[in-house]
């Protein structure tokens, strides 16, 4: 049996930061992780994280995982056991893990950090066990970690951050998100995340739930309905949605089995996510040798998980190495309190109170409304009016034009005398909530610069659609400038009529759908109408311009419809229109038939 000073279970953000802190203090540490590379759920996150620069704000999740991995891989005192699943805890500070599904390894520790994270909650509805119903995180794993898309048309249940982020990531991968359902009357996650998907046209249906999945062997649809104030479905409001994949994003619940086996007291605190280990402010459980950090102790963001990982590691180091790290611990506790001081953390604060962990005093925060700034100047508009823990725009601005202040939850205030219109903040903002605007009264146009994270990247001169915050068409826009950024948040500058300056929030490729009239040659109603508008007045002309009726069916399918369109547009009755000349063959036959020639002898 191998002996370690410290063992860390779980290689997510909390576990990796913990192991890194332990290792850099010379503690002989083993970190055990189930996956073949550590990173936890960060590896499937493609969005930029909120927070401050010390905690990787504006960096994408999978890149944070790479950085944290680099930190622990470089430490001589940290041993990493990958593809290793801890299967049980035993007396005498020992545990057993299975490596690669077959080798059993037993190790002992002086101090243990359990950072096992959480798993997705189930939501029981009829056929919720059908293939095609996934946890939201499962779809993220498939698409972002492995590049595999499990469906074409998605329904997401739950508008917390995971549901909102998933919707955005699905759209980035080129599939359709039919709707996001939310049982409450308001968005569960951050407003900026919701705005990102709304302007792309994804409806968030409030006071709605899923009643059943449709399908025999796999999901082929969903029945959804409105709910009343007691979350009971309202009869008569049922709607059927055609989707092939349903994603459940109704929250996470901590994975506490190993903590239970390690004799830590577990208590049910719904505000923290369910059953959680009882612990003190410094992350020590009721077993003095066992600490917890991250989602196992309360369902939150990766930033708070990282801070908790550090706090627990520092507490462990104090005892293992008999050193005093009071100052460092206090500093981390203050940072953690700051991150948790916003209105979005009210449940966490009240949950922690039940353990006797009180919220430390923090500088007050301020909520400021949307500033439009001086018209006519190219400037940043920061559409970030909800208090969330993030100050990446303030930190990135070289001109000190954005102010957030001591409490990271305060909403940004722009100093328009200092703003140079450089747009650095546009590509840095994790919420994609900043855009550039300039009114041009001389040409009666407006110029808008928006963050753009889709493919294909529009080209200068291209005509596109300007969309409002709900994804509705507002006006045509012309692409004027494209800035490709290394962090993949590109900026597209578009120009459009001045009167829409405050309305356009996003741009999309024109998507006019028009019914196919000629099935053989795939000619749409719009193409036929355009040909008539451009001067075609009879059937023969239409045939030559569009190839309608000239495919294998010889016009059997569509001739009458085409004549009807021509009659409607020109005002000439069908009976008076020429309907062309019929020629052989009237059915598709092989050419060889003609080459044989004449009557069979």
């Amino acid at each position: 049996m191998k002996e370690y000073e410290a063992v860390v279970i779980g290689g997510g953000p909390a576990g990796m930061v913990g192991a890194s802190e332990l290792g850099s203090h010379g503690v002989k540490t083993l970190i055990v992780d189930e996956n073949d590379i550590p990173g936890g759920q960060l590896v499937k996150q493609t969005h930029k994280f909120f927070g401050d620069h010390e905690h990787y704000a504006s960096i994408r999740g999978f890149e944070i995982a790479e950085k944290l991995r680099g930190d622990i891989q470089g430490l001589a005192d940290v041993e990493i056991a990958t593809s290793s699943t801890v299967i049980g805890m035993y007396p005498g500070n020992t545990l057993v893990y299975a490596k690669d599904d077959d080798i059993e390894v037993k190790v002992s520790y002086k101090k243990l950090l359990i950072a096992t994270g959480a798993m997705e909650k189930q939501l029981p509805f009829i056929n919720s066990d059908l293939p095609g119903v996934y946890g939201a995180g499962a779809v993220q794993t498939l698409m972002n970690e492995y590049g595999v898309m499990p469906g074409k048309r998605f329904l997401i249940v739950g508008s917390g951050n995971i549901g909102l982020i998933l919707a955005y990531q699905l759209l980035q991968s080129g599939v359709e998100v039919r709707a996001i359902l939310e049982a409450l009357g308001k968005i569960g996650g951050y407003l900026v995340h919701a705005n990102k998907v709304r302007r792309l046209g994804v409806p968030i249906l409030f006071k709605h739930t899923i009643l059943r999945a449709i399908g025999d062997e796999e999901v082929q649809g969903a029945v959804v309905a409105q709910v009343d104030d007691k979350f009971k479905p309202i009869p008569g409001t049922e709607k059927e949605l055609v989707v092939d994949t349903i994603c459940i994003a109704v929250g996470l619940t901590p994975l506490t089995e190993l903590a239970e086996q390690a004799n830590c007291e577990i208590r049910y605190i719904p505000e923290l996510g369910g059953y959680v280990p009882v612990r003190d402010e410094r992350m020590r459980t009721t077993n003095p040798d066992v600490f917890v950090a991250g989602d196992i102790s309360s369902i939150e963001e990766a930033t708070t998980a990282m801070i908790e990982g550090k706090i627990s590691a520092l507490s462990m180091i104090e005892e293992i190495k008999d050193v005093n790290l009071e100052k460092e611990i206090e500093r981390e506790l203050d940072t953690l309190a700051l991150f948790r001081s916003g209105p979005k953390s009210v449940r966490i604060r009240s949950g922690l109170k039940k353990f006797g962990v009180k919220q430390r005093p923090v500088p007050s925060s301020s909520q400021n409304g949307l500033q439009i700034g001086p018209a006519g100047k190219l400037r940043a508009i920061v559409d970030c009016t909800e208090e969330i823990p993030c100050n990446s725009c303030e930190a990135i601005c070289k001109f000190n034009a954005i102010h957030i202040g001591e409490n990271i939850n305060s909403t940004p205030v722009v100093d328009y005398d200092k703003c140079t219109g450089c747009a650095t903040c546009v590509s840095a903002c994790p919420g994609l909530a900043i855009y550039m605007l300039k009114e041009n009264p001389d040409t009666s146009t407006a110029t808008l610069g928006i963050p753009y994270e889709f493919l294909p990247i529009p080209e200068v001169g291209q005509k596109m659609w300007g969309m409002d915050g709900n994804g509705n068409y507002i006006c045509d826009v012309t692409v004027k400038r494209v800035i490709k950024n290394p962090n993949k948040t590109n900026i597209i500058y578009v120009e459009f009529p001045l009167e829409f300056a405050q309305m356009v929030k996003h741009t999309a490729f024109p998507q006019k759908s028009s019914p196919i009239i000629c099935r053989c040659e795939e000619v749409t109603l719009e193409q036929i109408e355009q040909a008539i508008d451009s001067g075609a007045t009879d059937f023969e002309e239409l045939k030559r311009l569009t190839r309608v009726t000239m495919g294998p069916c010889g016009g059997k399918n569509c001739k009458l419809i085409v004549l009807g369109i021509l009659s409607r547009k020109t005002g000439v009755p069908i009976s008076e229109l020429s309907h062309g000349t019929s020629r052989p063959p009237v059915k598709p036959v092989e050419f060889s038939l003609f080459s044989k020639g004449g009557d069979p002898k």
């Binding site: 189930e34 073949d36 759920q41 493609t46 994408r60 999978f62 699943t85 599904d101 798993m119 997705e120 189930q122 066990d129 059908l130 293939p131 095609g132 119903v133 996934y134 946890g135 995180g137 499962a138 779809v139 794993t141 498939l142 698409m143 972002n144 492995y146 590049g147 595999v148 898309m149 499990p150 469906g151 074409k152 980035q172 991968s173 080129g174 599939v175 062997e217 796999e218 994975l255 994270e453 889709f454 493919l455 993949k488």
Partner: protein
């Protein structure tokens, strides 16, 4: 679009070494590093087993080794988490029926 994502605005999916394995005796192509569940999803297969009591189809739910919804028979051994088991060349994978036979 179901299956492998070819273009992505943020991520780069490098083409990996292709390997072959068998699902219900049918040859399936996978990328090295894929889990069994991933490779099957890439091939459009989402039904991974039939449940022990009611014989209902079941598939992937959490994809990270927690929920045990994706148990399959892999190389003759039942109850293996297809979301955590890497595909290997020539591996034989079957939909698990019921609880799986004791070998």
């Amino acid at each position: 679009m179901r299956g492998r994502i070819k273009f992505h605005p943020i991520l780069e999916f490098k083409e990996k070494k292709k390997i072959k394995f068998y699902f219900e005796d049918q040859e399936i192509e996978a990328y090295e590093g894929d889990t069994v569940a991933v490779a099957l999803h890439a091939a459009g297969i989402r039904i991974l087993r039939y449940t022990p009591i009611n014989g209902r189809p079941a598939g992937l739910f959490c994809a990270v080794g927690k929920c045990s919804s994706c148990l399959m028979e892999i190389d003759g051994i039942p109850n293996r988490r297809s979301c955590m088991t890497r595909v290997k060349e020539g591996m034989r994978v079957r939909r698990q029926n019921k609880r799986g036979d004791v070998v």
